[in-house]
Symmetry: C2
Subunit: 340 residues, 2 copies
Amino acid sequence: MSDMNGTGWALAKRPVGMPEMDDFKTVNVSAPAPKEGEIQVRNSWMSVDPYMRGRMYDRESYVPPFQIGELLTGGAVGHVQASAHPDYSEGDLIVSMAGWRDVWTGKPQENMVNKVPQTGLPESALLGIAGMPGLTAYAGILRVADLKEGDTVFVSGAAGAVGSTVVQIAKIKNCTVIGSAGGSEKCNLVKELGADHVIDYKAHDSYEALLGALKKAAPKGIDVYFDNVGGDHLQAAIECARPMGRFAICGMISQYNATDVQPGPNNIIQVVGKQLTLKGFIVSTYADMQPQFLKDMATWIQNGDMKFEETVMEGIEMAPEAFLGLFQGRNKGKMLVKLA
Amino acid sequence: MSDMNGTGWALAKRPVGMPEMDDFKTVNVSAPAPKEGEIQVRNSWMSVDPYMRGRMYDRESYVPPFQIGELLTGGAVGHVQASAHPDYSEGDLIVSMAGWRDVWTGKPQENMVNKVPQTGLPESALLGIAGMPGLTAYAGILRVADLKEGDTVFVSGAAGAVGSTVVQIAKIKNCTVIGSAGGSEKCNLVKELGADHVIDYKAHDSYEALLGALKKAAPKGIDVYFDNVGGDHLQAAIECARPMGRFAICGMISQYNATDVQPGPNNIIQVVGKQLTLKGFIVSTYADMQPQFLKDMATWIQNGDMKFEETVMEGIEMAPEAFLGLFQGRNKGKMLVKLA
């Protein structure tokens, strides 16, 4: 057992609007040999996710805000280097919330550590398709949106980590799927994943154009909307919803960096006449679905029904750039940073 | 059996914005002696309801639009004058959708007729507390909003036919209730019905003032919002909602007469982080609750737990004025027209 040193990231200041590189600063990280109850870990992968933007505001939310100068946190995969905890041994593969750094020492329970059994999946999948974004997609489309066979489903952000998984689950359940994404490369990906119709929202850059494209793709309307984007997408989905439509509201990335107040959907009155259900959700509420999720996901991946795309940046020094890339639409599928 | 003649109302033209008297015109109604399968009815009461405004637009909706020059329809209570239908006899008390007229002859099934057993309730109650608005309140608060004992409940339009019933059901279920209404007279009524806090929205005529009043009334936030009003009320409710809050979206009377597009709630992103459910509904979807509703309502009225207020205008010639009164806030409780 020996001390390790490494690098981590903290907020230098709170971003205003779109985050920028100088909102972040590096911090030296020391990962000493573990004391009783601790483990020493070298992270191999870390995750950047849109929800992290919310924690950069100083406001009450479902997760507490990041503090200036303190190490950021997030999903990470790592290997135990040394253990002074009875449940962990050198070489164990773990997922934790101790991301945004390459090495760390600490108590497993303080870092939301889970030991990972052998799954045959690559390690990076534990942060994507078989991790938090995968479960978000699974719980959101199956339970929150109460997906039924034959539904017409609209998914925004369909090339992202969550959206691309939603598209595929809906296809597995024999639904008609319309996915929206920005740019032809991403739209091709969504199409390859099985979507019946793809809308390039960058080629439809007014609300009316987006609405027209959605109406064309779903002339009889949509039963389910899985919202990753908010804004015009949400409004168009309300406009095209069929009676009793179900909306799983997972995120609104179009609004995360807004510095002024964003107007809500101007057609929300349709929620009454169409008897729509709009249901916001956070993946942690659906933790009970985790075992079935892993089982289904393993089967689907094995059968070739579930593909996953990753966009990888290499090295801890790239972490902020990977994060900023989420809001620039630079990722296809899961955005990751490879650390070792 | 003899022919009867009377008066009914039709649209003279489609209202633009707030309806006006000259959007309506009287029509002579003949109610001849019934032919086979028909009944001849004299209406004693008719209902005017906010939802009727929606049917005056020429657009697809959950109920088809009224046609210019054709008799309007709506809830009515009447007495069978003569019957050529085996299930009905002279003197039967019925509810139907053949309102907006004082006499009529027709087939029961074409006019959504239900024969009413002796309930001990006054006839007018069949159009209010024990009728469609009562069931709307009952189904909306108990099933759509999934009310739980101890919830903090916010009800807008709390002095109206539906809202005043919601307030009382929530009090029967041991909830803390905040009701909003316009003007001190209505607010006093809401208080008398048992609301713990009352907000006079006319005395808080900016969004910020309304929000401040709601925060003061519910410093720990609200679990349930029953929306009759939309607009600022909905936005304030989202702002004050606790995690997992449930919204029954029953109507948005603030928007029914709008001639331009109304902005949606600018804080709808909170639906995600707070995991809110916004669920629009129409009473007919919950028809299965009717028997239990009537049972509960009879018990509650008998016990003195459920009071109801009516605002009555007299004579078929007053029907449009009663309807317009709904949007001028002239009703406490159910707005009715007494016909006989």
